[in-house]
């Protein structure tokens, strides 16, 4: 599954009713892409059962 930061920004912003100015969209998507990469690293880590929330 390929992650599309721009599409994510559009969908998530609509979901919380947060207007993203056109001139900011690219920079917001770049930030999301950077955080997505960090999230993948965290999500890939297998936590032992005793750490379940």
């Amino acid at each position: 599954m390929t992650f599309d930061p721009g599409a994510f920004v559009d969908a998530a912003a609509a979901a919380i009713d947060l207007p993203i100015p056109a001139e900011d969209r690219e920079a917001v998507a770049a930030n999301i892409a950077r955080l997505h990469a960090l999230a993948q690293d965290v999500l890939a880590f297998e936590l032992p059962p005793e750490s379940s929330a």
């Binding site: 900011d24 999230a39 999500l43």
Partner: protein, 447 residues
């Protein structure tokens, strides 16, 4: 005793002089004169509490004349990051959104505690907007400059705090540290900076303090000043360690992305402490990722309304970051918090076998203001995240960390971090004092 009026005076020296009869009013007037002389060039202070500071100093002198014993911080001038309430001044958090806010009606708890022990708040210090940044380049309040070289950044986000202390305007400042905002500027400005045990410092009256990462911390020019300030802030006076501490270097991640200056600083600290062992800090890269995600999510908390209605007033350096942070999926945040709990347990196991870890504080010395990216050890990355490379993995931990300035006469400052189990700040201060005694750590006032 007149040394207490100079820029080199530490908080401990000032308090001792005031206890011996030096008027607190003279100390405060001297500090205000230094601020008047140097702040225009540094842009460390964004607001000065002139009349308030003079009034409190006079009150302290009058109380002493009546026989009231001065506190352990008697007459010590201090500043606070602009997100910390000072009664009578607007709390701006470095943002145009709060520049014209009504004055705070009461002091933040940390200000109250310090002043209850005799310290005197003289003003608010510059920061990246809402603490979101590592260079204190602020569109509303201007750029703060490093006193050791004004073409260079002091680091951030508590850059005003670090610059004010490094320049000797005040001996003590209170900043906040989420991903490294005390420890990073302390390293670049050549001073001590403590991130205390998470949850130990009352953040009442601090704008944007609702997250689970950030904590208030002191910046100063001596280990003793850090110990004293922390004791007052935490209302906890810990004994020094009863036995020799087991010190080790943090290996792996902490030995990879740093330049020759940072590598030399760590080696000198380790040698002075007689540490030869190297241990692996568990999952440092993931710990950095988790801390960054948690801090990003929490930084947007409470700002959704402002982002919807007053976006244009956000600093251009932060607005697209806050917009992105507001969009993060809950599962990213929750999984990062789960990892964080696991990580703190892993550290607890690590600290069964070692007492204090030594590691770099920053990968390089202060870059020039406006530097967009840094290339360290063949890896190029944006300046802010790169400067925080070694502070960020500790941000989600419950443990205290202290930046110690390594003595480097004639060269730009560089610090190292000391890292200990929760509530072992006294161990960190003890080792920092050892490094001072050995001549390996020092924090001379920037000329």
């Amino acid at each position: 005793m007149t040394a207490a009026l100079g820029a080199e005076a530490t908080a401990v020296a000032i308090a001792a002089a005031v206890k011996d009869g030096m008027p607190a009013r003279a100390v405060i007037d001297a500090a205000l004169a230094r601020i008047e002389a140097r702040n225009t060039g540094l842009n460390a202070f964004t607001a000065i509490a002139l009349e308030r500071a003079r009034r409190r100093a006079t009150q302290l002198d009058e109380a002493r004349a009546r026989g009231v014993a001065p506190g352990p911080l008697a007459g010590v001038p201090f500043g606070v990051k602009a997100m910390i309430d000072i009664a009578g001044l607007p709390t701006t958090a470095g943002s145009a959104l709060y520049r014209d806010a009504p004055p705070a009606r009461r002091d933040a708890e940390v200000v109250r505690r310090l002043e209850a022990q005799g310290a005197i708040c003289v003003g608010a210090l510059n920061m990246d907007e809402f603490g979101m940044g590592g260079t204190t380049e602020n569109a509303t309040f201007g750029t703060t400059r490093n006193p050791h070289d004004p073409t260079r950044t002091p680091g951030g986000s508590s850059g005003g705090c670090a610059a004010a202390v490094a320049a000797g305007l005040v001996p003590l400042a209170i900043g906040s540290d989420a991903l490294g905002s005390v420890r990073l500027p302390a390293s670049l400005c050549g001073i001590f900076g403590l991130r205390p045990t998470r949850g130990d410092i009352d953040a009442t009256g601090v704008l944007g303090s609702g997250g689970t990462i950030s904590t208030l911390g002191p910046l100063a020019r001596s280990a003793a000043d850090i110990g004293l300030a922390h004791a007052v802030m935490a209302d906890r006076y810990d004994a020094p360690p009863a036995q020799a501490l087991r010190v080790a270097a943090a290996g792996g991640y902490f030995g990879e992305r740093l330049d020759a200056d940072a590598r030399e600083a760590v080696a000198r600290a380790l040698h002075a402490l007689g540490a030869t062992r190297v241990v692996e800090f568990p999952q440092a890269k993931r710990a950095r990722a988790a801390s960054t995600l948690i801090n990003a999510s929490e930084s947007a908390t409470g700002k959704l309304g402002l982002l919807r209605t007053r976006l244009a007033q956000f600093d251009p350096a932060t607005r697209t970051r806050f917009l992105a942070h507001a969009l993060l999926p809950a599962q990213w945040y929750l999984q990062a918090q789960r990892f964080r709990r696991w990580h703190n347990e892993a550290l607890r196991r690590l600290f069964a076998d070692v007492d204090v870890l030594v590691m770099p504080a920053t990968p390089c010395v202060a870059p020039r203001i406006g530097t967009a990216t840094l290339d360290i050890a063949g890896v190029e990355a944006p300046t802010g995240p790169m400067l925080g490379w070694f502070t960020q993995p500790l941000a989600g931990t419950d443990c205290p960390a202290l930046t110690v300035p390594v003595a480097r006469p004639g060269r730009l400052p560089m610090g190292v971090q000391l890292f200990a189990p929760p509530r072992r700040e006294a161990w960190l201060v003890h080792l920092a004092a050892r490094l001072e005694s050995a001549g390996v750590a020092s924090s001379p006032v920037a000329p």
